[in-house]
């Protein structure tokens, strides 16, 4: 198992290095030079040249890559190997600081949404599979299709319309806290966690209230495919020969369900992990609709403005996150089914 984990980790590092270089090179082939936007429309040729020099864009592509990696000195030094992701060309602030600012917002949202989705979807999926075709199964299947039929932002706007505008039971979708609530001292960047750490229950209630609709929106859309996956995998496992044999042996239903669940878990875990990575994409629109100011919104702004260091930093962070999730899944998979590690 340890050897498998190390091998898997080694592959992950290689993947990370390859993606880092690939993203850097691909960025340089985008159909626009970011300098035009940075210098503004009154820039003289001297100003454009000065800015290109400051950003190392006057260097050759291999030299730019070496500077980015930290293997050569440049105006944009230090580089990746020195722990720097550079400074954003939009704001001038270190990309690392900006990631630390935005990432917790997104993580708080998707972790809570993911937990909520799992808590609802897994029992429902198992129940649908166990009960077989019937009203409950039909209802759950309908929900799965219904929830996935519209994108996250559409559901977000619909929920705002119902819960904020019409019924007035949700706070205004204007950010993470009310205008009069003082934010807790920053520790993790997740307001619910930081407010609890500070013992500030008023801030916690406010932050949690502002998260309810975004979390419900993401979870609502996510629950459909998870139910579908769990239901299919459990149903498949229940139709397998070992379940028939267990039934033939007269084992109690609870014990059969435990065997079934364990054997249907492996493929579900993989798919759920992929969904987790996918949620970063869905979170972009939810952050936009609810004015949360997370990594997704920042990523979109960076891409639209060709902020190379920010985009590279965001891709790097998402890649690391995805690789870690997939690594964890592989290890869990190996734990569930030891044959995988051989």
């Amino acid at each position: 198992m340890t050897g498998y984990a190390l091998r898997r980790l080694g592959v992950g590092v290689l993947q990370l290095a390859a993606i880092t270089v690939l993203v850097f090179v691909v960025m340089r082939f985008l159909p626009a030079d970011p300098v035009g936007r940075l210098v503004g429309f009154t820039a003289s040729p001297e100003t454009i040249a000065l800015t290109r020099d400051k950003l190392d864009l006057d260097e050759s592509l291999p030299d730019q890559l070496l500077i980015y990696l930290g293997l050569r000195e440049g105006d944009q030094s230090p580089g990746l190997l020195q722990g720097s992701l550079g400074d954003s060309w939009n704001t001038g602030a270190p990309v690392v600081d900006q990631i630390a600012q935005y990432l917790p917002v997104t993580l708080e949202l998707i972790i809570l949404a993911f937990v909520a989705a799992l808590l609802v979807a897994v029992p429902l999926g198992v129940l649908a599979a166990v009960r077989g075709s019937g009203r409950l199964d039909a209802g759950i299947r309908f929900y799965g299709l219904f929830a996935g039929a519209q994108p996250e932002f559409w559901w977000g706007l619909a929920f705002i319309f119902l819960f904020y505008v019409t019924w007035q039971v949700a706070p205004a979708p204007l950010g993470r806290l009310d205008f009069l609530t003082a934010p807790p001292p920053r520790v993790t960047g997740m307001l619910t966690v930081d407010s609890l750490l500070a013992g500030n229950l008023a801030a916690f209630r406010d932050a949690a209230a502002h998260l309810v609709l975004p979390v419900v929106t993401l979870a609502f859309v996510l629950t459909g495919p998870i139910i579908k996956m769990v239901r299919q995998n459990v149903a498949k496992a229940m139709a397998s020969e070992y379940v028939l044999y267990a039934r033939g042996c007269g084992l109690p239903t609870r014990q059969i369900a435990a065997y079934t669940f364990r054997n249907s878990l492996a493929p579900s875990v993989t798919l759920i992990a992929i969904l987790f990575a996918y949620m970063l994409g869905g979170a972009v629109l939810v952050e936009q609709v609810f004015s949360l100011g997370g990594l997704g919104q920042w990523a979109v702004a960076s891409v639209l403005s060709f902020d190379f260091p920010a985009i590279q930093g965001i891709v790097l962070v998402i890649t690391v996150g995805t690789l870690l999730v997939l690594l964890a899944v592989d290890l869990l998979h190996a734990r569930i089914d030891p044959r995988v590690a051989r």
Binding site: G36, T42, E46, N90, T91, G92, F161, G175, S291, F306
Partner: protein
Amino acid sequence: MRKGTSILLTATVATSLLAPAAVTAQDQTQLVILSPDAVAALDTEAPGTLVLESMAALVNLMEPLVEFAPAGTHSEGGVHQLDFTSFEGRLAESWEFDPDTLTYRFHLRQGVIGCSGNEFTADDVLYTFARAKSASGTLGPLGWFMFNTGGVAGFTPDVLAPDADRSLGDEVTKVDDFTVDIKVASQRRLFLPVLTDFFVFIWDSKEMQAHATEADPWSHEYATTTNAPSFGPYCLESWTKGSELTAVANPSYYRGPAAIDRIVFRKVPETANRIAALQAGQAHIVQNLTPRDYEFLRQAGNGVHVDSIVGNQFLFLGLSWNVPPFENQALRQAFAYAIPYEEILSTGYGGQATKWEGTVPSSYVGFHRTDAQYTTDLEKAAHLLDEAGFPGGAGLDQYPGVLRLAYVAERESTLGPIATLIQSSFRQIGVELELDPMPQAQFADRVFSKHDVGMFLDDQDKPDLPTAEYALGPFMTTGGPGNYTLFSDPAVDAYFPAVYEETDPAKQDQMLAEIQEIIMATPNWLPIAEYATQWGVRDGVSGLTWHPDLQLRWYDLKVEP
């Protein structure tokens, strides 16, 4: 989808009035402004400064040496106006100019205390000039550019060469703690307007230097990410990147503390949410809506009104001088006569615009309504097309890719319908346009830097300094830094730099009028509309004043209890 939902949401708010639009006792001295983006940076030399919200923060946290005086008038839309020919002292109490030595002497205000508790002195002025000349920020050096435009000695393009000495010389000197001399290379009417621009607002040098490092002697990182220490009417209270900035009134502000104690400036990207919050009384001012949204707010009422002014925002169709066949004057004029002006004004801007009758914003000093005017006249357009050698549009197909009308894709909701109107009108004279929306960054690169776009619609770029010579010099002279259509006319060039340096205002305006006539007769920018700058405002909020940078001064605002 987004527009439909916006209307759905706002309509419901309008009819149900989900919350009373009250200003609570707690809100009496707190004002909430919602904007589609967040403050990105507080350094005047960081690219994030070009985000409108960053400018809004800077003009309220920092303080200029001088400012335009109030005109004592307001627009039909209720916005207070400034007199661009008259100045009042801010950090400078008074000044005089010595034509023999080409030197301005500024007498600085005493007893001014900034948000850091430091007293304003001549050192702060010298620091601000020195920082601008250092050209050490990431952004194209706009501080340097402004002083260069104002004619300050020593701020020449030479200092931008890679190994040039960028230290401040004797062009700005300290006479005593409260007196500063500034030398100019030539006397320009632009000099004082330049000092009103936020790119050269005065830094608190002591606070900035306290955060300087060997690698960053001008404290760019501190200003970019933490604060803009100065002597302005508001002090930074908190700044959550990507989300919100709050500011509190500077209790020591030399003009007296602001009427509103606390300003919450929050990013709410969804238009529908900004409108809903304004109507629900949870926000006091919203900005950067589309003309259609403002019209909706006007109609809906519900304790909300719209303040507006036709200031310096305009729409034009740019034709690049260097891209054949647009060097053909008859063709350019044909296009000018084919533009459906009235439809654009009414449909594109909901009537909140006027036809642009010049090449300079009509509110600017030196604006001249030109004799040459273009109205929609398809017959004349067809005739000119024929004269240009393209009868009925025939022959234009030999210039592949040129008849693509580019515009910023992020402005689709406003510019998309306008581009379609132009496309439809041009089709009637046989010119088939292809619409080409592109991301803002790509637009900026291709239009401002590479100059490889033949035709483009632009409604976002404006000259910040409200004088005709600034609106023309950088934009319409050969090699001018803002001349992104590469317009070149020796007759226009011949007026510069003399027009900058003419000290008789009447003569100067006469020269500017002649320049505007030349340009209008052979247009590279086809002027279309001057449209209103607007704000959605809760009833009871007043004092909005229009500045050429389009940013509200929070100090001027009042909220009725």
